[in-house]
């Protein structure tokens, strides 16, 4: 039963990873940019929510009402100032500039908030530990379930936005071919900036759930970035629903690994990532095509 329980925990953890990673996946799908500051931005959101909760007694989920628009605006600014310029110069430069940005963010947060580890768990009453017991003795935390549901909602929302709305059409067109999109009147610059803003709204929400389920400190960002990246790559870069699958695979691998060894959590996760990455490269043509049909794709390329 231990293994079943771990499997379920891994599944739930996967929901968190999908939530964390969907912004990264979205940005990569639209602009081919990997934002190395992704994790640090989630931590920033966590700190902002912490400030609101600590000073003004605002419940974190309520605090999101203020933090999400703030982060969206930050995303727009970030795009216009940093990402737009970097992307023009090729694929390598966005990695360098976002890495620099992450360094600045992490250390600035240290400067402002200090080294103490924080958490939002004390501010959400019993949600942090309430649970349901499923048949078979499996215990599922209510927060974990909420996280999973929110992840599904965000992924679903992004999918619908891309597939059904005018903005979604423009985003897909610009993602496919920015020049030709411009020819039919799509303002590619604005569309890209909007995409970054959208990605950062998901990051803001992810930051909330990061802080509610666990502790964080100014240097938690890079670790979270790695998990998000692993989830994205395992599921197939650029595929929204693939990120859910990737997150779940990562979560399950980590949870099962934790059972095996004290260091097993991280080792299993990283190993799974590398194995999937390489299996994908070595897989023969027909097998890859078969794998591709299995993966549920959003309309994003």
């Amino acid at each position: 039963m231990i293994w079943l329980n771990q499997l379920v925990q891994g599944l739930m953890l996967g929901g968190y990873y999908a939530l964390l990673a969907c912004g990264l996946s979205f940005m990569f799908g639209v602009m081919r940019i990997i934002n190395l500051a992704h994790g640090s931005l989630a931590v920033l959101s966590a700190y902002l929510l912490f400030l609101l909760a600590d000073r003004y007694d605002i419940h974190p989920l309520l605090g999101l009402v203020a933090v999400v628009p703030a982060m969206a605006l930050l995303g727009w600014v970030l795009h216009r100032l940093v990402l737009e310029r970097s992307a023009r110069a090729g694929a390598l430069l966005p990695l360098l500039s976002t890495f620099g940005l992450a360094t600045v963010l992490d250390n600035s947060m240290f400067q402002v908030f200090g080294a103490d580890t924080r958490s939002l768990a004390p501010y959400i009453d019993s949600l942090s530990y309430d649970s349901w017991t499923l048949p078979g003795g499996v215990i599922v935390g209510q927060l974990s379930v909420l996280t999973f549901v929110v992840a599904l909602a965000l992924l679903g929302g992004l999918h619908l936005m891309l597939a059904r709305t005018s903005l979604g059409r423009r985003i897909r067109a610009a993602a496919h071919d920015a020049d030709t999109a411009q020819l039919v009147g799509v303002n590619a610059r604005s569309v890209y900036a909007a995409s970054t803003a959208i990605a950062l709204t998901t990051v803001a929400i992810a930051g909330a759930f990061l802080a509610m389920r666990a502790t964080f400190d100014p240097y938690t960002g890079p670790q979270q970035l790695i998990f998000a990246f692993e989830a994205v790559v395992i599921g197939g870069a650029g595929s929204l629903w693939g990120t859910l699958i990737g997150g779940i695979v990562l979560g399950v691998a980590q949870s099962l690994g934790a059972q095996v060894h004290s260091q097993g959590f991280l080792i299993a996760g990283h190993t799974t990532f590398l194995v999937v990455l390489l299996a994908r490269e070595y897989a023969t043509g027909s097998f890859r095509r078969w794998l591709r049909t299995l993966r549920l794709r959003a309309a994003t390329p």
Binding site: S86, L96, S97, V104, I226, Q263, H270, L274
Partner: protein, 342 residues
């Protein structure tokens, strides 16, 4: 249309008077530096050792990113492995300074199978893939009983040397390693690998289609970079004696390498060295201010990435056509020198 008839003889040259002067100067400087421990204070010797190690790291990261077009956020993997291998070999009874060399060699050899799969990755996947590899290696090294997790251990075998001797030996080892690697890269760039790297950087597919052995060139540079970073790690542990995995496998090292190469000039030969000197100077002056210093580093790297992506030396080269070391080709006609084509 008439073409003016003119008999022009175009010569392809590699050495100019500038570069001959520069190379002579560098050789002289290296010889002078070799005399360092004899008349410099202990503190200066230590600091210079650090400078040489930074130089190695900058040179090696630039080789990978600037010449092979492979941006790696995980070279700390080899830095840590090199230090770990040195500690392990010394524990087996190998003489400490021999252990340093052997450690670098072992990691270099190990990087060959690693390259077999990592080089299948491109762009961001390679960059962060290397980072994940570093994290994984960190975790695996922690499992070694000798290391005892994050507690770490020390290169105890170095205790057999008197402090001054140890300092001097480490200094010379670092100087020698940096000099050898720098000359190695220089020779490499002047040869086939140099042109291959240029072609790969400009357009990998096109390069492959005209017969450039893309994968072989990348692999060579990957292994060299691994070897160099491992040597740097081994030298660092010789210098600081203690080995704590967290320090050696930290992504902070990549942050330093990125700073040095970005500011110095990615893809140039002189750039990383300039970057290492600048970084060393900044660290000496501001390192003690703690976090503010790190913010400054990050902000500077960010600004350079946005505004001056060619780095200081890249800009100098572009505007003045100046090249101190003759790694490129120059076209000149009977009239005189024209800007080099690199």
């Amino acid at each position: 249309m008439n073409m003016p008839s003119r008999s022009t003889t175009v010569r392809v040259t590699r050495w100019t008077s500038t570069s001959i002067a520069a190379v002579s100067l560098i050789i002289a400087a290296q010889l002078l530096l070799a005399l360092g421990p004899l008349f410099l204070s202990a503190n200066v010797v230590d600091r210079l050792t650090t400078l040489f190690i930074y130089g190695i790291l900058a040179l090696m990261w630039n080789a990978l990113a600037g010449y092979a077009g492979l941006l790696s956020v995980g070279q700390q993997a080899f830095f840590g492995l090199g230090a770990y291998a040195a500690v392990r070999l010394a524990d087996f009874g190998v003489s400490p300074y021999l252990a340093l060399l052997l450690a670098a060699a072992v990691v270099g050899v190990l990087s060959l199978p690693i390259s077999a799969f990592m080089l299948k990755l491109r762009g961001g996947e390679f960059a962060i893939g290397m980072w994940v590899l570093a994290e994984l290696l960190h975790l695996l090294v922690n499992l070694d009983n000798l290391i005892q997790g994050e507690t770490g251990t020390s290169l105890i075998a170095l205790q057999r040397y008197a402090a001054d001797d140890r300092r001097a030996y480490t200094y010379w080892a670092a100087l020698a390693t940096m000099a050898v690697l720098a000359w190695l890269v220089f020779v490499m760039l002047r040869g086939k690998i140099g042109t291959a790297a240029q072609a790969i950087r400009d357009n990998e597919e096109a390069a492959g289609s005209v017969g450039v052995r893309v994968l072989a060139s990348k692999r060579l540079i990957f292994v060299l970079s691994a070897f160099g970073c491992a040597a740097a790690g081994a030298l660092w542990v010789a210098s600081s004696i203690t080995f704590q995995p967290k320090t050696y496998f930290s992504v902070q090292w990549t942050a330093y390498m990125i700073f040095m190469v970005l500011v110095g000039g990615i893809g140039t030969y002189e750039g990383p060295i300039l970057g290492a000197v600048l970084f060393f100077t900044i660290e000496t002056l501001f390192g003690a201010t703690g976090v503010v210093y790190l913010i400054g580093l990050g902000a500077t790297a960010l600004l350079f990435a946005l505004l001056l992506p060619r780095g200081i030396w890249g800009e100098v080269e572009r505007r003045l056509g100046l090249q101190l070391l003759p790694v490129g080709y120059r076209l000149s006609d009977s009239a005189g020198d024209s800007p080099s084509t690199r």
